[in-house]
Symmetry: C2
Subunit: 321 residues, 2 copies
């Protein structure tokens, strides 16, 4: 059993290969370019960890983890088109560099390639893995659609926002772990607990992301503070503030969203603090991490095998970058 | 064994069901809208015919044929975005009606749904069917990319154009038949011949399409004559004319492509006729149909089972609409 860091290294080594033919270059170069931008590769490593929680590594876990990473990159390429995002990881997005048609099509071919990797695994669990993969893919699309829908609405409830984040980001963390656990021979109950562990960890991660964008130390976080506020992004913090603010504060927040004054960030943060959104976010994150750890506890496997995942959850809980 | 027409009726009945959940409507309504526009459903029916060539209908053929039709519609939705097409089957395209982001995402979810149908079939041939499906999907993407690349190039060779058409349209006809034949229990040799039958028939179909656009009877064809010429589309006819024209004719063709004069169609057609492109296209179509029928002949199955496909090829050969 290896740690998250060790498995990340293993995955990177394994993933560092040609995933596409060379021609037509106009189709495959954009796909190669985007994969070359890197990323934390969290989801495929979750798949490997899910496998190792139950048994030694099944060679098929490399195929499924590659498929998961390709799927995730496919969603990013297409999301960037839909969001008209100019940059990803400080580099031009695919549609910025190669044009929208090539970006759209290279995303499509990346999704097909993900299914090619899945199709290399043993027949005995092919049906089950594809079923989870499809279900998750569909949910991620639904999450992205809800996210776009919510942009056009002035106020959304906490539960609506939570559902969107679950679909858009958390289910893929949960199902990556679950797919790995299937390859490790886990039974249905254990699979379910591991899925819930991942889903809750994903939610904690998103809360922390939103928190750090507003209250983090820019020197550690690596991004300018308040990016979400400038972009009028609906975040856990914003949703909570709108739900708990006084009429006066709510009016002020709405007015601030329509401006881009130099002190916009400071003014919004002041309201956030007045509404105790910062404390609330920390509590919410802890709630999700606690729920995640409870599900991990409930998995029927030797405690020692759970250590890498426990360690990872602790790391998520404390991270300030 | 049923005819093409009978199987089309059966497929339509089977396909007339809800393929998507109702929510979020903003994601699934565009997908439902597009499927509602109809279409000839040729590819899924090829799958059914490929099955019936060898054995009575395998219930899994309904799943695979639905997957094929969803895949085909996914490519059309995305192609329309890339081509900025305002109309499809005389109705607004998905991106025209619902916006580009929703069109992109509902195409994505349609592709995922295609894989869901495939995942319902028996394990014994799941690997093989997914392999062919993925290979074809990848080739169709390559064909669309080449098509877009060729738009930016002044002259392309016949063999380049042929390769593009093969990828973009013919391989899906071939592999639809092949996937059906697998479900009917066909061996490798028979599968290969049936695939080649479909591929050549697809090429013949495209040649005929190009021919009818230029020389067909508008009353029968249902489209205005010369649409491809007005749009400066590279077609079998145009490629051939450019390859066989005199220096003077080639200059004239290039000049005509830069204009939109009222007599553009007549002038281009005159050059086409001078280059005997019309006769050549008929010979080319016959060549493809003959090759297709040769492959059908070579399939080791009782002649009587081949009749529906022979009938279909004859119909393709003679159609003037």
């Amino acid at each position: 059993m290896k740690s998250f860091e060790e498995l990340t290294k293993d995955f990177l080594q394994n993933f560092d290969t040609r995933h596409f033919p060379s021609r037509p270059a106009s189709l495959y170069e954009p796909a190669d370019y985007f994969l070359g931008l890197g990323g934390k590769r969290i989801r495929p490593v979750m798949c490997l960890m899910g496998n190792e929680l139950f048994d030694q590594m099944n060679p098929d876990a490399w195929q499924v983890s590659a498929a998961i990473e390709l799927f995730h990159n496919f969603t990013l390429i297409h999301d960037d088109i839909m969001d008209k995002a100019p940059l990803r990881r400080n580099m031009p997005t695919v549609h910025e560099k190669f044009g929208e048609p090539a970006a759209l099509l290279s995303g499509d071919v990346m999704l097909v390639t993900a299914y090619e990797y899945i199709n290399k695994i043993n027949s005995s669990y092919l049906h089950k893995i594809i079923h989870i993969f499809n279900k998750t893919a569909r949910e991620v699309c639904e999450g992205q659609q809800l996210d776009m829908d919510f942009e056009k609405v002035e106020q959304i409830s906490f539960s609506e926002y939570l559902q969107m984040i679950e679909l858009k980001t958390s289910v893929l963390i949960g199902s990556s772990l679950q797919m790995g656990s299937i390859l490790g021979g886990a039974g249905d109950g254990n699979q379910r607990h591991l899925y819930e562990f991942g889903k809750n960890l994903g939610l904690a991660f998103q809360v922390q992301d939103d928190y750090l964008d507003a209250f983090g130390d820019p020197a550690k976080f690596g991004k300018q503070r308040g990016g979400d506020i400038v972009a009028n992004k609906k975040t856990f913090l914003f949703i909570r503030a709108m739900e708990t603010a006084t009429e006066q504060q709510r009016r002020e927040l709405k007015a601030l969203m329509k401006t881009n004054s130099v002190d916009k960030i400071e003014k919004v943060l002041r309201i956030f603090r007045e509404c105790r959104v910062d404390e609330w976010a920390n509590e919410l994150k802890e709630k999700f991490v606690t729920a995640a750890l409870q599900h991990l506890d409930d998995i029927a496997v030797l405690s020692v095998r759970k250590e890498p995942l426990q360690h990872l959850a602790g790391y998520f809980m404390k991270r300030d970058f």
